[in-house]
Symmetry: C2
Subunit: 162 residues, 2 copies
């Protein structure tokens, strides 16, 4: 008996932007939803290759572009020369900020201080709109520093240039 075709419920968020829901799209979205990491296109390729060796890197790039444009994922630039991606819920309930180690490149999500941050962000958005005529749509906040491992002079990065 052939396995029933799986269609992830999040597929609906893409709407009319696409005509067909394919294996690569299912697999890439699924991986991003399940992982806690911030993956690059190559990392996604490496992760899915054992499962589906026919999937090309080009499709990964294209699918990531699609998911990003559709708002299902967020594209992150940490400055190491490659974009990273993470899943983003439709209701923004998983909104968070980043803590980046400048030595090993590790990225931590954090969502403490929701209240104060929200207040500040909202207030700032108002002022910026009034003073500069901007319509604020989103924000990025990131803290840069040294993670525990790198503070204790321990581990070295495997990321070139860190």
């Amino acid at each position: 008996m052939p396995k029933k075709k799986e269609v992830h419920p999040e597929r609906t968020r893409i709407g009319d932007r696409i005509a067909r829901w394919t294996i690569p799209r299912e697999d890439i979205l699924d991986l991003l939803i399940r992982t806690q990491q911030h993956l690059t296109a190559k990392e996604i390729y490496a992760a899915l290759n054992p499962l589906n060796p026919d999937m090309g890197l080009t499709t990964i790039y294209r699918t990531l572009e699609l998911l990003d444009t559709s708002g299902l994922i967020r594209k992150i630039y940490t400055g190491d020369g490659q974009a990273r991606f993470e899943y983003k819920r439709a209701d923004h309930a998983d909104h968070h900020h980043h803590l980046i180690c400048s030595v090993c490149g590790k990225i931590l999500n954090y969502r403490d201080f929701e209240k104060e941050e929200l207040d500040l962000v909202r207030k700032t958005e108002e002022i910026l709109a009034r003073k500069h005529g901007f319509l604020i749509r989103d924000h990025n906040i990131e803290f840069l520093g040294l993670c525990g491992d790198c503070r204790s002079g321990g581990k070295r990065s495997t990321i070139p240039g860190r």
Copy 2:
């Protein structure tokens, strides 16, 4: 009478990292100090070429790397595929955040809410240090949205991909 060689006072911030203070270094640093914009290597090249046609793009990249490592400038990634640079005072008195138009790519500096922001950032840093063992060194905050021009459907970007 030969013109006295100019050496920018900020040169001292680089310290022993270099042995010679050269024309390109003087010109690039000077340009970044004087401009209000966030320039790419190519933009710097274009700006300085009329003044000094012998300066190569490679030197621009190398000098920017030097200035960044020395803490005189800040490297910014806005996601359009090229790094941008801005001058950074030693006393951090010019610390600010960014307002980025997602349509035309315009970048605005803003420094409102110094007090509230400072409080929040300090508080956040403490918690992050305690909970995640991070030593915070810096932070980036950016707001994304539509600038006045792009809200009114006016100007289009000259930046490819926006």
